[in-house]
Amino acid sequence: MVTKERLAEFEDKFKGEIKEKKALTPTQILYLVDKKDLPDMAHYLQYHPEFDESYYVMGIGSDERQLAGKFAYAPVINMLDSSGKRENFYVILKARLDKDNPEFPSVAQKLPAALWAEREVRDLLGFKPLDHPDLRRLIVPEDWPEGVYPLRKDHEYNASPPGELQNAYKEVPADTSTVPIGPYHMALDEPAHFRLFVKGEEIVDVDYRGFYSHRGIEKIGEGRLTYNQIFYIAERICGICGFQHSCAYAMAVENIAGVEIPARAQYIRTILLEIERIHSHLLWAGVACHLVGFDTGFMHAWRIREDPVMWLPERLTGNRKTYGMNVVGGVRRDFLDYRKKEILDKMKQLRKDVENLYSIVTSSDILIKRAKDVGVLPYKVAKDYGVVGPTARASGRNIDVRRDHKVFAYKHIDFDVPVYKEGDVLARVLVRLDEVLQSINIIEQAVDQMPEGDIFTPIGKLPAYQESLGYTEAHRGEVIHYVLTGTNNKVYRWKVRAPTYNNLPAVPEMLKGYRVADAPLIIASIDPCYACTERVQIVDVKTGKVKVLNEAEFNELSIEASERL
């Protein structure tokens, strides 16, 4: 709930530019503003003295020519109140852009956090961010022709125009040699290309090129599937944070429908979210060990991940991953009471195993040596880039959506959010290890407190052309979905922003000044999830051909994506 005076100041400051204001939900305020002051507003909000943890979340670009005859570009700021009152809320600054010449003053020139968002809208919608620092193409592949914008409504989702190869890479700095990491490299579990410019083994500069695993998710979602069908896609955005995505999506739609889902459903979602978190962190710990050549740690971490961590959801949901539990308005399947004990036992076993694992991992001090004072990300940089999740918390950012926005059952459960100041890889490791223990707490509490009652409130027809945000704290940070409904239960615009999307741009900053030997560890230390980051249009980089996806194929693809780990 946001009180007037919190916003009054802002509204006075930009009185002239603010055309219209509406509260999508009590904590989501949307301003319809004039485009020319976007940078100032965004900057003002992000660096507001009373909201020092607040950050730039994402930039939504949408083709609203059918609604308003104009394009729309909407930066979103997550306002985190540091005055103790914890009145946190999202601000959406929506600006309409001319339909023939969709140009706007770049927010990125003031906020590095907006760099990727604006490169994305340029690639996909053909917007023109003025004085953007670096407008190389980000998402569409090297051989995608200029002037073809897949996310515009008038672009057929399966059209694949021919184009010729063009260079979107940085120049090689003088007196350096180049070391590629990826697309195919032992250190990466998904395709991505880091181009390290090194002097000896010291990294001078880094170029990143990714989005090799685009799938037509947003485009396919828009205008073709109904809001319930989209769950299939939403959950398959990523094999690891699938449930997070589906929850975030569900939340957005439920906000639009204006329903509050039953308490029991909220608890069930919470438990599964935490199980997923534990799974992800263990998996990551394993990978990290492997990267520094400590395979024993790797093996043990993954052993624990098998049982109990994946054993449990199989019992609860029928799937080891990709639970498929969500439905708009609640969950599909209820937990039978006798499962409660099972969960608690497994949690006990898990706690033991995890502590055992820690002792194994920390037994080799070389591991600590490798992680300490490496890949440092200072607080300020973390804020500028709007870094989220454990990466941010390791740099002293005290942010956590679960707590700050009181999603689902977390409001009833007490847990603390580990924060470290150091900002190096070791801090990121520690944050995650702490979080595993926290999650176990949360699950046990949740199982105890879980109320009786039904697990689902039906939702009828959705109102047309309503918009809202949904969000959860995934294990990599804030997952956020934006939904704009269309006519008859279709979705007009569905925008997904995974945490890695905010974290990845900060990686080059972490790499600079460290050694080639550190690079894999540093890259891995943000626990990058390319599958999440790189949704949108499907293009096979090799051939440049677009595959037409029906739902079935689509599921297979998603399953592959999840099995890639």
Binding site: T176, P180, G200
Partner: protein, 664 residues
């Protein structure tokens, strides 16, 4: 006969020297190189001729000649390296055609070689010094050849030589003369005979001045600073002579003077050996940092000189020892030192020629910009590799045998300091290896880049030049007997028994041939057992990235061993400190001079100039003491206006006085 051969080669050198009269650049170069080649050949003939019956005495143009084992070792160096270098020069010097002055080259080049021949053959101290000076002089002319960055290097070299090498030698010569008392009586043996009559102080002075002179010429730390710039900025064929032959003259001088004029004393020996150890450590560790091909090689010349001095030092210390075993070890050390000098001449000569070939073909000697030359100049590549392995002391190459002998000598001396020295020598040779891995791979490894892709294999004569030396590295490495036959001459037979199969000295035995057979058999066996089947080619694995900058996909020379150098940065810091100290001393001296100089110059006329350096003083008007005394009088007289009359008056007075005296 031998003397005739010597005269023949000298006269050929003279012909080469005056071949400048032909004027046309290319033909001058060709002609002088041809004569130099012939002269070197006749030198080699001389060696063969003289081998059986040493020593040989004689006289050429009034300079007494004495050829003994020691001279023969160094004549071999001059002959072989000179031969290869002269052949190499046929085409190499075309690079400098636009500079003209071919006749100067002919003159200096031949004079350089001839002077060194005379240095090692004369038995007369004054002539020794004379030819020594000629050598320095002509080498200076050759060093400053390209007249660009070499100028300063050359000046630095020449001045250093004059201060630290010529002066002490002149002093030593004077002291020698003071006991002999006649110009003709300045033969080594005569001086040695009279040395007893000197006061101990003067004897010490004699040792000191000889040591200093040869340290400076050999580039022994701390007098090595001139060497890298001079060797790296000279034309490569000259660098070869400088590094391959000239600095060996210092070794010759050291051995000659120590054993034939002075007496080898223990302290002197220790001094030499320790200087050697310090030098080999400093030189080689600095070489590790270099990225300029020729600078790298030059620093290694310093390092290798350290090895030689270590060997010779052990020799000087122990050879006079009462314990026969130790005396024997001393002889071994001396032999090892001389042998290493010979080997160093071979591989370092070859390496400099290769560096020259690289520069000739690609136009740069900056290792950072080179790449993939092996594809384009395979022969140079092979030769460079052999020479590199030779200098790194890899078994089956010549460097190994001599280094091994030095280690053995140092070790069996049973003297902790020598053992330590030998150990350091051993460790440092790993550093040598490292820096040649860098030298070879950054030039020849990888694929050609846009700079080197235009390069092509150098002309035949240059290849022959490299080939002679670098193949000798391999041959001597496998059959050391060939070279040892000569290297053992100075200490006489019996120290080391060498056969075709191997070399042995009291219970120590090593047979490179056996080693070669073992290695070769295994190698060939595996090659036959599992012949490499690699038909299909592919471009190097770049992680499947698109539009990848292939040219930068390799380690640059300046990036090698960064962590290691960081580890030992303290050492480099120390070196830097001493460097600064040196330059500081020089600056202070100049400042002091300027301060004094102010009193010799009236700077009042110079408007708005604060005198900082000598050049400012030059614009002033020089003052004279007597002026200061007499000019006032003169001015006064001038004011009175009768100066000319006064002069006449003066004359009249004198004449009058004379007349008066007459009439007396």
């Amino acid at each position: 006969m031998v003397i005739y051969l010597l005269e023949l080669s000298l006269s050929l050198f003279v012909l080469g020297a005056i071949s400048g009269l032909v004027l046309e650049y290319k033909s001058v170069i060709r002609l002088s190189s041809a004569f130099a080649t012939l002269a070197s050949l006749s030198l080699i003939a001389l060696i063969v001729e003289a081998y059986g019956h040493l020593p040989i005495k004689g006289e050429i143009l009034g300079t007494p000649i004495m050829i003994d084992g020691l001279s023969l070792v160094f004549l071999t160096i001059i002959g072989v390296v000179g031969l290869a270098d002269a052949i190499y020069t046929f085409n190499y010097m075309d690079k400098y055609e636009k500079l003209g002055k071919a006749w100067v080259f002919a003159l200096a080049y031949n004079a350089f070689l001839a002077s060194m021949v005379l240095i090692v053959t004369t038995s007369h101290l004054v002539w020794f010094v004379f030819w020594w000076e000629i050598m320095t002089f002509s080498s200076f002319v050759l060093v400053v050849w390209d007249e660009k960055d070499s100028l300063w290097a050359g000046v630095e070299y020449y001045i250093t030589m004059h201060l630290a090498s010529t002066l002490p030698l002149l002093l030593a010569m004077a002291i020698g003369y003071s006991v002999v008392g006649s110009f003709d009586g300045m033969g080594f043996s005569d001086v040695a005979a009279h040395i007893g009559t000197l006061s101990p102080g003067l004897v010490k002075l004699l040792y000191a001045s000889f040591l200093l002179a040869f340290m400076a010429k050999a580039g022994v730390v701390p007098l090595h600073f001139w060497l890298p710039p001079a060797h790296s900025s000279a034309p490569s064929d000259v660098s070869t002579l400088l590094s391959g032959v000239m600095i060996k003259m210092a070794v010759y001088g050291l051995v000659r003077t120590t054993f034939f004029i002075l007496k080898p004393t223990v302290t002197f020996g220790y001094l030499v050996a320790m200087l050697g150890v310090v030098t080999l450590v400093v030189g080689t560790l600095y070489a590790l940092k270099q990225t300029n091909a020729k600078r790298l090689l030059a620093y290694h010349s310093v390092g290798q000189m350290g090895y030689i001095w270590l060997g010779v030092g052990i020799g000087i210390t122990l050879i006079g020892n009462s314990n026969s075993t130790l005396a024997f070890i001393g002889a071994l050390g001396l032999t090892a030192g001389l042998f290493h000098a010979l080997n160093h001449a071979l591989f370092k000569g070859s390496l400099f020629l290769s560096a020259g070939a690289i520069e000739y073909a690609s136009g740069t000697k900056d290792l950072n910009r080179l790449s993939g030359l092996y594809k384009l100049m395979p022969w140079t590549g092979i030769f460079a590799l052999f020479a590199s392995l030779g200098i790194s002391g890899v078994p089956l190459f010549n460097g190994f045998v001599s280094k091994w002998m030095i280690y053995e000598a140092g070790y069996y001396s049973k003297n902790f300091w020598f053992v330590l020295g030998a150990l350091f020598a051993l460790l440092i040779s790993a550093v040598t290896l490292a820096s040649f891995v860098k030298f070879y791979n950054s030039a020849f490894g990888g694929e050609p880049n846009e700079l080197t892709s235009k390069a092509k294999e150098v002309p035949g004569s240059m290849l022959i030049g490299q080939g002679i030396l670098s193949l000798l590295c391999l041959v001597i490495g496998v059959f050391p007997a060939i070279a040892l036959a000569i290297a053992t001459l100075p200490v006489g037979k019996g120290v080391i028994t060498t056969g075709v199969l191997g070399l042995s000295f009291h219970s120590i035995y090593f047979s490179p041939v056996l080693m070669a057979i073992v290695f070769g058999v295994i190698f060939v066996a595996f090659l036959l057992l599992l012949p490499p089947k690699a038909k299909e080619t592919a471009k190097p694995w770049d992680c499947g990235s698109t539009l990848f900058p292939e040219a930068t996909y390799r380690l640059r020379a300046s990036d090698y061993y960064r962590p290691y150098e960081k580890r030992i940065s303290a050492f480099y810091a120390l070196g830097g400190f001493f460097g600064d100290l040196g330059s500081e001393v020089i600056n202070r001296t100049i400042a002091a001079y300027v301060w004094v100089g102010k009193y010799f110059v009236r700077t009042a006329e110079i408007p708005w100039v604060t005198v900082k350096d000598v050049d400012d003083l030059r614009d002033g008007m020089t003052l004279h003491l007597d002026d200061a005394l007499i000019m006032p009088v003169v001015r006064f007289v001038k004011v009175v206006g009768i100066l000319s009359k006064a002069a006449v008056l003066l004359v009249l007075i004198i004449v009058a006085a004379v007349l008066a005296a007459l009439i007396w």
